[in-house]
């Protein structure tokens, strides 16, 4: 298992999760957990995903998600989980 965190931030609109999930399914990325919240009027979604079996390399994945975000009008980031784990867990 190779876990990464995908975050989506922006104005809420129809089909955000659908579009992101479609991309993930096409690239063999399993979703382990999804949560979302509204912070200062902005839609915040976090997905924990398994990127251990991806069909593209990680660079391509982050670039693709970023451009997908641009087409929807939200910011999408994909980061390896360790940065959050190291910062918030001892």
């Amino acid at each position: 298992m190779n876990r990464s965190i995908i975050t989506v931030v922006g104005r809420d609109t129809v089909g955000i999760i659908a579009k992101v999930c479609t991309y993930l399914a096409e690239n063999n990325i399993n979703i382990l957990d999804i949560s979302q919240t509204i912070v200062s009027g902005y839609f915040n979604m976090m997905m924990i995903v398994d990127t251990g079996h991806i069909t593209v390399d990680f660079h391509r994945l982050t670039a693709d998600l970023e451009s997908l975000g641009n087409t929807i009008g939200v910011q999408i980031k994909c980061q390896r989980e360790e940065i959050f784990d190291k910062m918030h867990r001892i």
């Binding site: 965190i5 957990d33 979302q36 919240t37 915040n44 924990i48 660079h59 940065i83 910062m87």
Partner: protein, 454 residues
């Protein structure tokens, strides 16, 4: 499992509060490059740097992308060049050839600075050390990426006042040699006391002879994150203030530790240390002076500044030490004037003087850093300033440094633009009374007594 608020907090630090890894510095020993022929020496230096650091920049960029954390600088530190060149160099010009080789190698491997054009002369100078020091003005004028440092004293050895006197002259000559560029050469030249062997930050970085063949050192940053955290505890007690700084620096340092371990693993080079630093940049919101303001000081330099800085420096270390397996370098809060918008503002409005900065250096991680002074400041006065800082370091068992820029053709009230991370600064007034008779004495100041601590 990580929750959404933790993810949002981390990404807010990176996107809104300028959290970054300031530098991955690859220390490279050049001891195995020595030769008595200058051409052979330069060829071996180049080969070793390209071989060892060839993947540094790309690896750092990959890590930055995968974790979503900016890694601002990729740098190299080398064994002090005075040692490497000692068998081959017969004149200062030979040392300049080494500088040009290093500059080209740094450019080829894609690093923005290479440190270690240095001499360690805390007790005495060899002929090679003197030649290297004499070559510094030309070396810095003819290169873009080379940083130079000279260690003139230590708690164990005292202060080499012959080197202090010489460095006053060398700083002036470097200013003259780069006068068309606001004396920029001096921004890449630092005079140290108690210089650490593993400092990843420029201009004082070099790879000490106590170090392994190659090592990864990482400098973290994040003044904006600390300031932002303190905004939520305005008016709270010192206990709450200190706890907040500690918790924040713990988080910042953990990111540095992650990046250092990952870089070490990918490059196959051992991890050395994390430098726990609050290193400001001229960007708005990335200022140590702003943290002091948030602690309750109207402007950096006002009464209370030294105490607030002491508190900040100590809490940074306390929070950071537990976050990293190995801590070293300078570790603490940096107070460079030109690289910190809050410090620039304080200097411009008269709140901050060189004398107050000197007091602040007693309790923070470095010394008088990136200070522009009038171009007609005498060499002996610069030496006097260096001696004062070295004395603070020597007596207090800490690193101190002077990176001062006598800007040729400019005087108090003028502004200087260094560009990029080096920032801009007002020319600050220097005490106009002299110390020529003191500086012209030969020899060294003896080491301080190490007993009778009461």
């Amino acid at each position: 499992m990580i929750n959404i608020s933790e993810v949002i907090e981390t990404n807010r630090m990176i996107e809104k509060e300028n959290l970054d890894v300031r530098t991955i510095t690859l220390g490279i020993s050049l001891l195995d490059c020595t030769s008595d022929d200058i051409a052979t020496l330069c060829r071996k230096i180049r080969e070793k740097i390209v071989r060892t650091a060839g993947n540094l920049a790309r690896t750092a960029d990959n890590i930055a992308m995968e974790y979503g954390i900016p890694i601002v600088n990729k740098r190299i530190s080398i064994t002090p060049a005075s040692i490497i060149g000692s068998a081959a160099c017969r004149t200062p010009d030979d040392y300049v050839k080494i500088a040009l080789t290093l500059d080209k190698a740094a450019e080829d491997v894609g690093v923005n600075f290479l440190g270690g054009y240095s001499a360690i002369v805390s007790k005495g100078m060899t002929a090679s050390d003197r030649m290297l020091i004499m070559s510094i003005p030309e070396a810095l004028a003819r290169t873009g990426r080379i940083c130079s440092s000279v260690n003139v004293g230590s708690t164990r050895t005292g202060i080499n006042m012959d080197a202090v006197r010489l460095m006053g002259d060398i700083i002036r000559q470097t200013a003259e040699a780069t006068r068309d560029n606001d004396s920029l050469g001096c921004a890449k030249l630092v005079v140290l006391c108690n210089a650490p062997d593993d400092n990843p930050f420029m201009a004082g970085a070099f790879h000490g002879v106590t170090e392994a063949d190659a090592v990864i050192n990482v400098g973290v940053s994040g003044p904006g994150v600390v300031k932002s955290a303190l905004e939520s505890v305005r008016g709270a007690s010192f206990e709450v203030l200190c706890e907040t700084i500690k918790k924040t620096t713990f988080k910042i340092t953990r990111v540095g530790q992650l990046v250092a371990q990952e870089a070490s693993r990918r490059l196959g080079i051992p991890f050395g240390i994390i430098d726990l630093s609050l290193a400001p940049t001229p960007a708005i919101g990335d200022s140590v002076a702003d943290i002091l303001h948030e602690i309750g000081i109207e402007k950096a330099g006002a009464p209370g500044t030294t105490a607030a800085l002491a508190l900040l420096n100590d809490q940074v270390k306390k929070g950071g030490v537990m976050a990293s397996s190995y801590v070293g370098g300078l570790s603490g809060a940096f107070i460079p004037v030109s690289e910190d918008q809050g410090m620039i503002d304080a200097a411009e409005c008269g709140a901050l003087t060189i004398e107050k900065l000197e007091a602040m250096t007693c309790v923070c991680s470095v010394g008088l850093d990136m200070i522009a002074v009038p171009g007609d400041t005498p060499a002996t006065t610069i030496s006097g300033i260096i001696a004062d800082e070295a004395a603070i370091g020597m007596v207090n068992h800490k690193t101190t440094a002077v990176r001062i820029i006598p800007v040729i053709g400019k005087t108090v009230g003028d502004k200087v633009e260094f560009g990029g991370l080096l920032g801009h600064a007002p020319v600050m007034p220097v005490n106009r009374f002299g110390c020529e008779d003191f500086i012209s004495r030969e020899g060294r100041i003896p080491a301080p007594i190490h007993s009778f601590k009461n």
